[in-house]
């Protein structure tokens, strides 16, 4: 890595814990010396490394070797034939970060980078503002690396996510408000205390971790960039970093420059980016979120402008889905492919279904859907909709009566 650079005005800054341009408050991004990287980062070299996100070491912003999250990433890319048939598309792949190590969401990728870099910069306390998955990941990875942690969440977050952060022993602070308010408080705290807030003052490093998802997709596809990628959007960061990873792969000669479109997905109850995209606007209007997809409930998405730009440049589309469609998406993925995704995953499936139905993703094409978190984290959202068990006494006769009833019911159907 070379420097931090403002995405708005281009001013450059040294590689410290800084996320904001002094001049216009534009976000800072890590810039790399690609010519130098190209010399050592070849397909063969990458293939010789262990199957973790750090396979793509040179494109991740730490100065030395990673010290946090060495086993993160390398999640499966599943060929989803049954789901493809159900959705009416020729070929479908699921990038399954629902099983990412250690906290079952893609956040482990960004946290590994942020905490490794925080250590390099001398921090001993790490923190974050979170809609859930990030809190889990920071709490877990901080515990594993002996760093002190403060995670800030909206106090009405799903129980499973709260327990999933508390268990690691760090400090979990519930804010009586929605995510954007949590974020604002964290910005104020970050300005006052010498803590590494992974998604505030460490954001430029943190965000780069998402690229590993895109790079893995390329490698697992046989060093090919997918023609269509569907990504859910909270801040919009993941979508922009997947695009960046595709562009970097082309720049480094790791994959051919083929036409590829990146599509965005949001929940209707919090859809500032998709609403703007569908109207052909370059800017979004902030909203107050109201959706079961709490991990995507960000009303003022800081990467919204850039996500819109990526969708425009790649000729991608976007759409949003209702709470019922989200639950339907979760069930569809589970029933067809045996993958239990959280509500954000339901959003991705639901939107992919709409985009294929409308022809925005052509039926004879191939698409990769990014699943970002595990269903065990948002059990509340599907608890009343997962179906029901049928109870019988421990009697063979009773069981056979049940089976017989099933057979006769199916015969009539």
């Amino acid at each position: 890595m070379k420097a931090l650079k403002c995405r708005e005005c281009g001013r450059e800054y040294p590689l410290t814990a800084n996320h904001v341009c002094e001049f216009d408050f534009g976000p800072l991004e890590v810039v790399y010396d690609y010519d130098r990287i190209k010399q050592s980062m070849t397909r063969a070299v990458i293939e010789s490394r262990p199957k973790s996100m750090w396979r793509f070491r040179e494109l991740l912003p730490i100065a030395g070797e990673p010290t946090v999250g060495l086993q993160v990433g390398g999640t499966p890319l599943i060929k989803a034939d049954r789901l493809a048939r159900r959705l009416g598309i020729r070929e479908l792949w699921i990038k399954n970060d629902a099983v990412n190590y250690p906290t079952l969401s893609f956040k482990d990728r960004v946290v590994s980078v942020a905490l490794s870099r925080a250590r390099e910069l001398g921090f001993t306390t790490v923190a974050c503002a979170s809609t859930g998955n990030l809190a889990n990941s920071v709490a877990a990875n901080a515990a594993a690396s002996g760093l002190k942690a403060y995670v800030f969440i909206p106090s009405d977050l799903e129980q499973s996510k709260v327990i999933n952060s508390l268990i690691y022993g760090g400090n979990v602070i519930g804010i009586k408000g929605h995510y954007d308010e949590v974020n604002r408080l964290c910005a104020e705290i970050a300005g006052k205390y010498p803590w590494a807030f992974v998604n505030v003052n460490m954001r430029p490093y943190y965000a780069e971790g998402s690229k590993s998802m895109g790079l893995e997709i390329i490698e697992q596809s046989g060093w090919r960039i997918p023609r269509h990628t569907v990504v859910c959007m909270a801040s919009g960061s993941l979508l922009t970093k997947i695009h960046k990873s595709y562009q970097e792969a082309i720049k480094l000669g790791l994959a051919e420059d083929v036409k590829h479109r990146i599509h965005g997905a949001q929940a209707t109850g919090c859809s500032p980016i998709t609403t703007a995209q569908k109207l052909g606007l370059d800017f979004f209007k902030p909203v107050k979120p109201n959706t079961i997809a709490k991990s995507l409930a960000i009303g003022t998405p800081a990467d919204g402008f850039y996500a819109l730009k990526v969708m425009k440049e790649t000729n991608g589309s976007s759409d949003d889905v209702t709470d019922d469609q989200i639950r339907e998406g979760i069930k569809l993925l589970a029933e067809c492919e045996g993958i239990f995704a959280e509500t954000a995953g339901g959003v991705t499936i639901g939107v992919a279904k709409k985009l294929i139905a409308s022809g925005a993703i052509p039926a004879d094409d191939s698409a990769v859907l990014c699943i970002t978190g595990n269903g065990l984290k948002t059990l509340d959202a599907v608890a009343a909709h997962a179906g029901y068990t049928r109870e019988i006494k421990p009697s063979l006769r009773e069981f056979e009566a049940l089976l017989d009833h099933d057979t006769r019911t199916t015969a009539h159907a």
Binding site: V20, F25, R184, P301, A302
Partner: protein
């Protein structure tokens, strides 16, 4: 209207390291102009050439984003608290 303005860390160099500044202003726009007269250079950090608040700057009046109110026309009353926060992100 005497209001309290919270200055974010990146701008404190311009306000002699003051985190809280008190100004007399009837609207958010007037408050920004008042800040400019006291701390020259601060205005161009907050607003662009067209005069609108820069897209990565969030301004709140008593915790409400001015984009949900009347933007720079949002009126202020005695004791109101105006916070200027750089836009941030996901988790």
């Amino acid at each position: 209207m005497s209001v309290k303005i919270r200055i974010p860390t990146p701008l404190r160099k311009l306000t002699h390291d003051e985190e809280i500044v008190h100004v007399d202003a009837a609207t958010v726009g007037a408050a920004i102009a008042e800040l400019q007269s006291r701390y020259p250079g601060i205005q161009e950090r907050l607003t662009d050439e067209a005069g609108g608040v820069r897209r990565f700057v969030n301004v709140y009046v008593n915790e409400e984003d001015i984009r949900f109110l009347q933007n720079q026309e949002t009126s202020l009353k005695d004791g109101d608290e105006v916070s200027i926060i750089p836009a941030i992100a996901g988790g």
